[in-house]
């Protein structure tokens, strides 16, 4: 199979920070807002270079969402940054009315998403945010897989006109996608071709999917790996083309079952050409404290579980 090289582990939130700075340099309409998490969101470089375009909101996320919508109405391109839970669940109604229904060109930068936030525990580990954001009409939902792709997705989000939910994380993870590859919203990437099973993944689970594909190859199983960085709108063509070939699907995500990428894919297949699907996700559970790797293993969100799901779904063909 195609080899992917980890060029050195980096956190995806730092990819956002670099992308934000680049987007800010390219377009003076880009502004950044945070609710007392400038450092955590890696907004320091942007704030240092564009102090008048960096807006500190204090620990008041609801107001931050509304203020960003107002800025967008005047023609700015605001990125609002906080932890995933605090820019989704905490302010769902504000995002719904001010940004989504209000058609405000706001980019929601959602860091520390999923269980890999780690030690802080379940209050801070949202595994429901993709569901909340997917449910909003027209909302674009992106969950890139590594530092480079997060940087490039940030630049793409700034150029796109309309609300975007951009999800990334805290831990350092393998950085393996090309440094300056243009991110095309709504276009999935076939990372590896295979004929026996399709593994569709987003976010931190993409690297795990590649590891699983390698292990499966050693057992003579050909796994097609699709990086579904854009969770909405879904690249239906990529899924249907691959499903027609492999007739067995695994969907892997750092998110719970309800409303995640898995249900989006299953819904598409149910409406078109039904195929067996296995899910690698957080099921219907809250997280807890622990190191990111310990949690991913404990909740079954790793290469080993993806490979097991692949064998299981192949047996269901």
């Amino acid at each position: 199979m195609k080899k992917y090289i980890d060029t050195g582990k980096k956190d995806t939130r730092s990819g956002f920070g670099v992308g934000l700075l680049e987007a800010g340099r390219a377009d003076s309409r880009v502004v950044a807002l945070t609710a007392d998490l400038k450092g955590s969101l890696k907004m320091d470089a942007f704030a240092a270079e564009f102090p008048e375009r960096f807006i500190q909101c204090g620990i008041a996320e609801a107001n931050m969402v509304g203020a960003a919508a107002g800025l967008a109405i005047t023609g700015k391109i605001p990125f609002i940054g906080s932890f995933a839970e605090f820019v989704t669940g905490r302010v769902y109604d504000q995002v719904r009315q001010e940004v989504s229904y209000g058609k405000a060109n706001v980019k929601i930068a959602s860091s520390h998403a999923g269980i890999t936030l780690g030690e802080d525990g379940a209050t801070h580990q949202t595994m429901e945010d993709l569901a909340l954001m997917r449910a909003l009409p027209e909302m674009v939902v992106i969950n890139p897989c590594d530092f480079n792709q997060t940087k490039n997705a940030t630049i793409a989000a700034a150029k796109y006109v309309g609300p975007v939910y951009l999800r990334f994380g805290r831990p350092s993870v393998p950085n393996f996608t090309p440094e300056d590859e243009e991110f095309v919203i709504g276009k999935a990437q076939i990372l590896n071709e295979g004929k026996d099973v399709t593994i569709i993944a987003c976010g931190h689970l993409v690297w795990e999917a590649l590891q699983a594909a390698e292990a499966l190859e050693a057992e003579g199983i050909g796994a097609e790996v699709i990086n579904m960085a854009t969770v909405k709108p879904l690249d239906e063509n990529a899924i249907l083309t691959s499903a027609a070939k492999t007739k067995a699907i695994v969907v892997a995500e750092e998110h719970n079952m309800a409303g995640g990428l898995g249900e989006a894919v299953a819904g598409l297949l149910a409406r078109t050409v039904p195929a067996p699907v296995e899910f690698v996700n957080g099921k219907d559970l809250f997280g807890q404290s622990g190191t990111p790797s310990a949690l991913m293993a404990a909740y079954g969100l790793d290469a080993q579980h993806i490979a097991e799901a692949a064998k299981k779904v192949i047996a269901r063909k």
Binding site: G58, A62, N63, G66, L71, I73, T74, G102
Partner: protein, 282 residues
Amino acid sequence: MYDNKQLQEISTQVRRDILRMVCSAKSGHPGGSMSSTDILTTLYFNEMKQDPATWTRDGKGQDMFILSAGHMTPVYYSVLARAGYFPVSELATFRTFGARLQGHPSIRKSLPGIFQASGSLGQGLSAACGLALGKKLDKDDNFVFCLCGDGESEEGQIWEAGMFAVFHKLDNLIAMTDWNGKQIDGPVELVAGEGDLSAKWEAWGWNTIVADGHDFDSIAKAFELAKAAKGSGKPTMILFKTEMGHGVDFMAGTHKWHGSVPKPEQLEDALKQLGETSLGDF
């Protein structure tokens, strides 16, 4: 500039519009609309730099307005129509299927004059802060106005915005509260014990003005003081003392007409009390 007599005539017509709209739709919120009628009439006809002919949602080169208490669409739509944003005849479509005049303000129907959706309470002041900040960044020397309700001000987000506006020195922001003392479930003091809004906004660091929201001289003076505060670094909050249902005796001063619609014979009585104007009904 319109004189007080002309403003009174417009306000009377707007109150007639409000009642006829909610009766036609058999739903809507007349109480708060009637308490804020004189404020919004003065705002759009005398105070705001606005022009329906060149209006765009980004508000470039003009003053902007956000109705944070989004349920007060009857007064908002009537004032916009009477100011020339869309045909007065369109008021007859209020709350009907397919209408641009949605129950609460929407930007999805391309109704001229609407800058932002509102209705879920407590959020408009934050959006107004963003507009004011955007104007500052653009060196656009115009004002942003925002109307909140006193019941609405029980929402915590109002106070988040209150802190933000002072911290970011938004002295181009003029917020207003329709301080009618009533909300759906009853008098504000009995529902939530909100206390003295004047002392609260003062403590929050705002340039705080209390005015009579049914006296055109008092309203004009309040706007004059608010505009004069530009350059002070402080946002302004004008607390307009008003009466819910103002202008019709059986509707005045009670919370019961917050979201209730008069019966046909009550409408007839109310319109008789208000009297006809030279502007004519829609």
